[in-house]
């Protein structure tokens, strides 16, 4: 079994969160949220790295958020599995990663190393930006 196969078998956070809702008696009826509607479709060749190791100027897809107390905080900001991020700047010496959420071009966010380590992403495009 290759590494990517192993990763694709790990249920993503998104699946852990949303799928159980469909059989939760308290939230019954939510089944209207169909799985096809979910923005995230796990690819067959997922290779996960943590956000702090993504390349500056590249773009990534979020796969999973490892810390369960961080996940709700990030959800409020619109950061969750399936979301596409631009890595704007990585500051050296343990500094934060500055990202921009794809659908929200006017919002930039600095994420400290400790948090960035908990965010698993998949590199989708390694294009150098025109910025320095």
């Amino acid at each position: 079994m290759t590494v990517s196969q192993v990763f694709s078998r790990i249920p993503t956070h998104f699946n852990r969160v949303v799928l159980p809702l469909l059989n939760n008696p308290l939230t019954e009826g939510m089944a209207t949220i169909k799985q096809e509607e979910s923005t995230y479709q796990p690819s067959a060749f997922v290779s996960a790295i943590s956000l702090n190791r993504a390349i500056e100027g590249s773009q990534v897809d979020i796969i999973q958020i490892l810390d369960d107390t961080l996940a709700p905080q990030l959800l409020r900001l619109g950061i969750m599995p399936g979301v596409h991020l631009h890595i704007i700047r990585k500051t050296p010496g343990g500094g934060p990663i500055v990202i921009q959420i794809e659908d929200n071009p006017q919002s930039e966010l600095a994420i400290g190393q400790d948090y960035a380590r908990q965010i698993q992403v998949q590199q989708v495009q390694a294009v150098a930006d025109s910025s320095p």
Binding site: V18, T69, G78, R89, S107, I111
Partner: protein
């Protein structure tokens, strides 16, 4: 009760509209929204009371409150709240905001149009919780610069509550908000949400919370797609917006950003250090105060009191309440603090400070803080007393302790720096500065890392929005400067007066000489200074710059090394009386005592090391 006059715009239009307060209780209106969306501007517009408006996320630490007039003799109670991304009680700040919001009769939810995807999460949560809401969409002008358009009518339809577009900085849309304020009502909860009270309880449990947050996020993302129109091509983005973005990215570059920071600090040195502390203070203190005002007070008082009497000494003597404190507060501190705050307010309003927070995060995380803590540290260069109050904006008690200790011990304030700049010429010029700043930095790192090791718990990492860069707004800058300077004058100045009173009493009773004798073994033996220098340290306990100023008179008798030793010791030595009092209030008896003792130890140890190293090197 049914309003008879439906004609007035403030009267509720239907029974399900804004809650009618009981006759005895005024309507309680709370402003809620994400950090840095403009809640404080709205607060100001509705109440006429100024709340701290800034371009730095998380500046509302104490909530502003005011009574507002709704017309027809009706009044309401309006409350600002700290910016939050949602109701989850994850930090102290959030708990404060949450408590205020959940008790509100009516919530004005301020959201920023450019970050609507993020901001609507809180909006939806307010609706899901069954609160009476009106939504104010701010920064419509900034949204326009990105070429995106927002369909407000459709958004209103979806949410089921009044939605008002605004550009609060320009004053647009505030009248509309005032007109529709009382139309606030319960809106549409997200699809399939359980009843409000069940939902509130469920969102207290971690796993359910995650599920419901996930659902809400999806719901919002779908909603946003129907109300936001993206530009056909990316080139539709206007020039100014992309230049500002580009510049913002350059400022985050490790090398270019660091160079920009150095330029910003050098400009601060030139403006506040050289022009204000040098030229302006010389003019006001040297000419106006010492040559005109102080002699006038002494002569005037001399008409009523004998000049050799105790009362005269207390009021108008060398350390007199009327003379010395007036001379220092008006002549030295006021121009320094004012100059510093103008400069800082400009930096803050143009959005530079969050970039600085990002750049310094790596270093600050090594001492158990995160980039946010750069704000109290920089404020400390102005006045440590005011900066200690601002440590409240840090997320955990652990971080507040570390920041308060670092401020009390290692950060010199503008008043001190002003005098130190004058003395550095005597103490070796550039070399003196290098040694002085080097020692402070080493100690900053040392104290920070030790505290980071021994304090229990973990510090939080940085998670901060970077607002777009913009030209500073003259009104914002002047109001912010005014608020801060006023705070300084009202909170710190009375303590300075008290300080000079204590020194006067000590001088009159002979206590000053006694203290000097007690301290002299330390001063002469350890620091290798003349015995008179002890007086400088005693005065330093009252006000750090009193101490440094005292050195001026001694400087002619001292060698360069001795001046440098004294400057280092005085800087590290006990913070001034005003900041010690605030430290006590903010951090409690035990913590503040430990910090004060540590600063004594640090001062004499480091001072001793400087003196003895120089001695061995035969300097």
């Amino acid at each position: 009760m049914k309003p008879s006059s439906q004609s007035t715009y403030l009267a509720p239009k239907s029974a399900q509209n804004a809650a009618q307060p009981e006759a005895s209780k005024p309507l309680r209106i709370v402003l809620a929204g994400n950090p840095n969306v403009g809640k404080s501007v709205v607060f100001h517009a509705l109440s006429g009371v100024y709340a701290n408006v800034s371009n730095f996320p998380g500046t509302t630490v104490e909530t502003a409150k005011a009574d507002i007039n709704l017309g027809e003799g009706k009044t309401a109670y309006l409350e600002d709240s700290p910016g939050i991304y949602g109701l989850a009680g994850l930090t102290d700040e959030e708990k404060v905001a949450e408590a205020a919001i959940l008790e509100a009769d009516l919530v004005i939810n301020v959201i920023a149009a450019p970050t609507i995807e993020r901001d609507l999460f809180l909006t939806q949560q307010l609706l899901d919780y069954g609160l009476q809401v009106i939504v104010a969409v701010n920064q419509m002008d900034e949204l326009a610069t990105s070429g995106r358009t927002l369909d407000l009518a459709r958004l209103e339809n979806h949410l089921g509550v009044p939605v008002v577009g605004m550009s609060a900085q320009k004053g647009e849309g505030l009248d509309a908000l005032r007109h529709r304020l009382m139309d606030a009502k319960r809106g549409h909860p997200m699809a399939e949400a359980p009843p409000a009270d069940i939902l509130r309880a469920l969102e207290k449990q971690p796993i359910e919370q995650l599920k419901l947050f996930g659902l809400r996020r999806q719901f919002i993302n779908r909603l946003v797609k129907t109300v936001i129109q993206r530009p056909a091509s990316p080139s539709a983005t206007t020039q100014s917006s992309s230049v500002s973005r580009r510049l913002g990215h350059w400022l985050l570059h490790p090398v270019i950003g660091a160079m920009a920071t150095i330029i910003v600090l050098l400009a601060l040195y030139q403006i506040v250090g050289v022009w204000v502390a040098g030229d302006l203070v010389n003019l006001i203190e040297g000419k106006l105060m010492l040559e005109l005002v102080v002699p006038a007070i002494q002569q005037g008082l001399g008409l009523f009191l004998p000049k050799s009497g105790v009362l005269f000494q207390l009021l108008a003597g060398e350390f007199g309440v009327l003379t010395m404190s007036l001379q220092y507060i008006v002549g030295v501190l006021f121009p320094l603090v004012l100059g510093f705050y103008i400069y800082l307010s400009i930096l803050e309003d143009c959005g530079y400070l969050p970039r600085l927070a990002v750049l310094s995060d790596g270093l600050l995380s090594k001492v158990g803080l995160n980039g946010r803590a750069i704000i109290p540290m920089i404020l400390g260069l102005g006045c440590v007393t005011m900066a200690t109050v601002s440590t409240r904006m840090l997320a955990s008690s652990r971080e507040r302790t570390i920041a308060a200790a670092l401020l009390a011990i290692t950060i010199p304030c503008s008043a001190q720096l002003g005098v130190i700049m004058g003395l550095m010429a005597v103490a070796g010029g550039l070399w003196g500065w290098a040694i002085y700043l080097g020692l402070l930095l080493v100690l900053f790192g040392l104290i920070g890392s030790v505290l980071n090791r021994i304090l229990p718990g973990r510090s939080t990492a940085l998670m901060m929005d970077l607002p777009p860069l913009r030209w500073p707004n003259l009104k914002n800058v002047s109001q912010k400067t005014w608020i801060r300077t006023k705070g300084f004058v009202f909170e710190a100045a009375p303590l300075f007066v008290l300080g000079s009173l204590i020194v006067s009493i000590l001088q009159v009773t002979g206590g000053l000489t006694l203290l000097q004798q007690l301290l002299s073994p330390l001063v002469v033996g350890l620091l290798k200074l003349p015995a008179e220098a002890a007086q400088v340290f005693v005065m330093g306990m009252v006000r750090r710059d009193f101490g440094v100023a005292g050195l001026f008179f001694l400087a002619s008798k001292l060698s360069a090394v001795q001046v440098l030793t004294s400057l280092v010791t005085i800087t590290l030595f006990v913070p001034c009386l005003a900041s010690a009092t605030v430290l006590w209030k903010e951090r409690g008896r035990l913590e503040s005592s430990v910090i004060l003792v540590a600063s004594w130890l640090a001062a004499f140890l480091v001072g001793g090391v400087v003196a003895h190293t120089a001695f061995w090197l035969h300097l």
